[in-house]
Symmetry: C2
Subunit: 250 residues, 2 copies
């Protein structure tokens, strides 16, 4: 069992849980690799927390972690290794992360682990980042064309409650997802329940009632919106899985 | 029981259901008031669908509907009333919608009904639109400060899986929601599980472990992310309600 912490308050909370459970909790000290989210910003801070973890009853110091792993990661880790060694502290684990750069993880010196999320399904953003091909995108949202108000517009029954408002860099293409059957259709606007498609660049146009498959811009948040995923293999449905972590954000 | 339709395919699907159930389904013909989503775009189309609904076994023509209701709505309805009367068809219901303009619904000639959604809770967007005051916003997302990596940055345990990526017009203020205890803090970035706060404009700054209440930018999608809402009155918790429609987008 392990947790990542970047401050003494979280460290003490974990220690209390470890003592209550009667077994130590492994601690990875999180550091910032430039994304300016969570994570300590200096090796001094990392060392102070690591020392405290190593000395606190209920905790075990396991190493360092960061997200994503980049060139800045390697620099931080090299400096930390030197400083921690001087302090007599080993760093068993250095955990990096991120799907877009997962294939380059071996180029970052010092990593012992790579954590990936989007990798499981891949999506339009990781395709744009060069980390996957379109046919490696394993999750498709199925939607139905429910309206064709004009020659140039179709409306599907998938909006922000199915696809989210998450966007992709312009290099990934326009709109809120890629429709596999109509790649020239642009999902140009969403309301909560509907997606508005611009068909002006399409030779063929979908009819009302037609089912289409969408590769989402960002599959992590899409997965969180659905209670089940239907599993298919070679075009046939073979199972249905519950999304166990859906909505479990805390 | 009633449904809104804007095309003959949906009309026939509803008719089959009405015949199967042995009782007619009321039909509102949806028209476009300028939002370019669903809805027929001419009175001719509306009349053709209404006639067909009135003549189809399993259906009952109940009237017209649109979203949102605007000046264009009044024009369409006036024209439709004249044309439908000539065709011998009454329009019992004219249903308009939209929270931001709900207080002006009486100014739109012809409406018999107003459908509102955001109105139930209100949110930062409807406050910006002048439809509510901040203390009328009934849904607050509670989040905890989990990290303070620098003097100017706090991180809360609410990201796109709790608040969504939905934004508001610049006039509503910056960021992904308003923190009631720290209105000068800007929720400037979100990842899936975390929100990054810029504290540079704050006199007081939150500590790790502190709970804050957030008025979401767009409450409709936030409601869809949570299984339960905790009901409080005068500062005390009085109940907990299940969000029955969460995830039921089709």
């Amino acid at each position: 069992m392990g947790v990542a912490v970047d401050n003494p308050v979280a460290l003490e909370t974990a220690a209390e849980a470890g003592r209550a459970a009667g077994r130590p909790i492994g601690v990875l000290v999180e550091f910032d690799s430039g994304n300016k989210r969570t994570g300590v910003v200096s090796v001094d801070q990392a060392l102070a927390l690591a020392r405290r973890a190593a000395e606190t009853d209920g905790l075990r110091f396991d190493g360092l972690m960061t997200y994503p792993s980049t060139a800045a990661t390697a620099e931080f880790v090299a400096d930390a290794k030197r400083r921690f060694a001087e302090a007599g502290l080993a760093i068993p684990v250095v955990s990096g992360g991120g799907t877009p750069n997962a294939w380059h993880a071996h180029e970052i010196a010092g990593l012992t682990e790579v954590r990936v999320g989007t990798y499981i399904y891949q999506d339009r953003a990781t395709v744009a980042a060069g980390a996957a091909s379109l046919d490696e995108c394993a999750l498709h949202l199925h939607a139905t064309v429910v309206s064709r108000p004009t020659e140039e517009r179709a409306v599907i029954d998938a909006g922000t409650k199915s696809l989210t408002s998450d966007q992709v860099p312009p290099s990934a293409g326009p709109g809120y997802g890629l429709i596999l059957e109509y790649p020239d259709a642009v999902i140009e606007r969403l309301n909560e329940e509907h997606g508005m498609l611009d068909l002006s660049r399409c030779d063929r146009k979908p009819e009302i009632g037609e089912r289409v498959r969408i590769v989402p811009n960002h599959v992590c948040v899409v997965s969180n919106l659905h209670d089940e995923v239907v599993i298919s293999r070679a075009g046939g449905v073979v199972d249905s899985w519950r999304v166990a972590a859906r909505g479990k954000t805390r």
